[in-house]
């Protein structure tokens, strides 16, 4: 491989993308202005949790250098900017990080180097921040927490926003993209920026449809898991469609895109009221576990004890952005709440009523309800019989289906999951 690729911003996105480039044979520079972060990476410590990432890092360690010196960017043919774009509670983006990092890269990279924005930015950002002398490219990222390595190594397609999509991509950048062996789709900046949001809104639409229908299943005695399998066989819906019901939108990215579409629609007078409906549905489903807890346990038990397994917003990540688990715990002030997560420290849910636990089993000791808020694989291996012996009352609230429903019902648990009617304990 001829060119050296620089990644600016050793974020979750930046690290995974940089290591994916090493896997494709490129020499890579990982730049970040945070010297402590660079020192940790140079020492081999990864600051993010992601399946297969440690192995990839170990395998390609010799192809990546880390630096906190912006002048090191001068040696790169392509500089890809992957700053974090934090969101506020309303889903609004704080663009100050990316603007600052982009300015550094523009000033320090070689004048002939290609600058690429990889962070998600709102429509209009790339055109506004490029210049005649230093045009930018915008590459749509499709990072999924928990599947980031797989997605980075085997992208379905790469969407690139360009000032003029009819012009060929710069050769070093084109070589990098070609190495992934997937379609590369150049398009105008605004199309690429909106394409990213479009992907997420289609996912949100599927999630909302699944959540709406799953709630109906719970009410009328249908089972969404039976229906979803049939839908996946419909080519118009697809085998990989987002059909799993969930506890509303979390993680921050989808919420940001809803906020962006609302803002754009408000500015332009377009009709995006369905986005409001999806946000409302998300809010309602987020409280699903709290509703079940109130109906089944809190209203019936004096001095209730609740075991919450999982704090991350989903499995295989340490992120708790908009985590349903944290939202649940915040509303359990009248209960004694024991918590455990394999990765997230209990300090993420620091309340007077929260007791941190060292293991899932310890967490369930004396509980009136076990609530599995993050479907970590380890939880599916918990023994129903062992848990039955430890709890005070056998109630399993498992929204995302981490536990095997049948064995738990056999062990005397009332079992509750999204998209299906309650499964009461079988007589023993």
């Amino acid at each position: 491989m001829s060119g050296k690729i620089g990644y600016a911003g050793m974020t979750h996105l930046g690290i995974v993308s940089a290591l994916a480039a090493t896997e494709r044979g490129f020499a890579v520079l990982g730049y970040d202005p945070d010297a402590a972060r660079i020192a940790a990476l140079s020492a081999g410590a990864l600051p993010v949790v992601e399946p297969d990432l440690p192995e990839l890092f170990a395998r390609r360690r010799d192809r990546i250098q880390f630096s906190a010196d912006p002048d090191s960017l001068a040696g790169c043919d392509v500089v890809i900017v992957a700053a974090d774009v934090p969101t506020d509670d309303g889903g609004g983006s704080d663009l100050s990080n990316i603007e600052q990092l982009l300015a550094t890269c523009a000033a320090r990279a070689h004048p002939e180097a290609t600058l690429v924005v990889l962070s998600q930015v709102p429509p209009g950002f790339t055109r506004a921040h490029g210049s005649k002398s230093r045009p930018l490219h915008y590459q749509v990222e499709t990072l999924i927490f928990g599947r980031a390595v797989e997605r980075a190594l085997q992208p379905e397609r790469i969407i690139v926003g360009c000032e003029d999509p009819a012009q060929p991509l710069p050769s070093a950048y084109a070589e990098l993209l070609a190495s992934f062996g997937c379609p590369v789709l150049p398009m105008r900046y605004e199309s690429a920026e909106l394409a990213k949001i479009s992907i997420n809104l289609m996912l949100v639409a599927s999630i909302t449809a699944a959540n709406t229908l799953a709630e109906l299943c719970e009410a009328i005695g249908a089972d969404w898991s039976e229906i979803a399998g049939a839908l996946r066989l419909d080519r118009r819906i697809g085998a990989h469609a987002y059909l799993a019901p969930g506890l509303g939108l979390s993680g921050g990215n989808l919420e940001r895109d809803l906020a962006t579409i609302r803002r754009l629609a408000a500015e332009t007078g377009c009709d995006a009221r369905w986005v409001d409906a999806q946000a409302q549905n998300s809010q309602r489903r987020r409280d699903w576990a709290l509703r079940v807890l109130h109906d089944e346990v809190l209203g019936r038990t004096a001095d209730p004890r609740v075991a919450v397994l999982g704090l991350a917003y989903k499995a295989d990540t340490a992120s708790t952005k908009n985590s349903p688990a944290l939202a649940l715990i915040e509303n359990l002030a009248t209960a004694s709440v024991r918590v455990f997560d394999p990765v997230v420290p209990a300090s993420a849910a620091a309340h007077d009523w929260v007791v941190p636990c060292e293991s899932a089993l310890a967490c369930c000791e004396g509980a009136d309800a076990i609530v599995v808020m993050t479907p970590w694989r380890a939880f599916s291996a918990l023994s129903p019989a062992e848990l039955a012996a430890r709890v005070r009352r056998r109630t399993a609230i498992d929204p995302l289906g981490a536990l095997p429903a049948g064995p738990f019902a056999d062990a005397g648990f009332d079992y509750f999951t999204l998209g299906a009617p309650p499964r009461r304990a079988r007589p023993r």
Binding site: Q280, R284, R291, L298, G299, T334
Partner: protein, 291 residues
Amino acid sequence: MLHHHRAHPTLPSRTVLLGANGFVAAAIRRRLAQRGAEVLVRSAREHDLLRPGAAEDLATALRADDALVVVAAEAPCRSPEQLVRNVRLVEAVCAALVKQPVDHVVYISSDAVYADGAGPITEATCPTAPDLHGAMHRAREVMLGARAGAALAILRLSLLYGAADPHNGYGPNRFRRTAAESGRIQLFGEGEEKRDHVWIDDLAEIAVRVLERRSAGILNVATGTSSSFREVAERVAALFDSVVEITGQPRKTPITHRHFDAIAVRKAFPDFRFTPLADGLERVHREITHG
């Protein structure tokens, strides 16, 4: 959603009840008395808020550390004239609050501010005020919001039932009365419509908790469980020793249902439990038949 300004429940130094003789105010007054609260009652009969000088009189009666509960209303509001009188009544309250601000204001509103078919209704549901009664409550909410601001709690009530209810509205109260008087309950259509029925004592308890926590914001007072009028009629009928006949009649209007997402009540007061409909109806029946 409600926001509590007091971390721990403490009764206000004094609670002033406007409209103290009505069904709702009497229940709140009883519950406050049970708590040992100091209460000043100002009934609409004795203190007509529509007369000249009423705002000044009310302001004189108020103290800065009072909690003011506004229940007074000419309800149900069915005419433009009633709407205007109801708005003028709260205009006087607002004028009094300018002269003498208080520590906390609780406005007893209604779910009539929401349109039919808007469910499940939450506190975030847009109040479209589709009729005169809804428009009256919505206007009063906005007026009090302009005067009381961050110290205002708005309780939007779903359908209430209770032994002392003077209204003869379609639902548990009328069903019980007609069952007692004639041994019959007549439904519209087959009573398919579902509504969320709240026992008056549950509302009173929530109102007192709102006062104790000096809560502000909006809260729908609804159980989160809706029952059809037929189901209510059957439950009421079952309370009588004699047979109560339940009859339907040809439907004149389309079926509409009303459901609430009551999660905000649970978040605001996690240890509060609504009385299940069957238990509430039984208590009301016992209260009326045995005193």
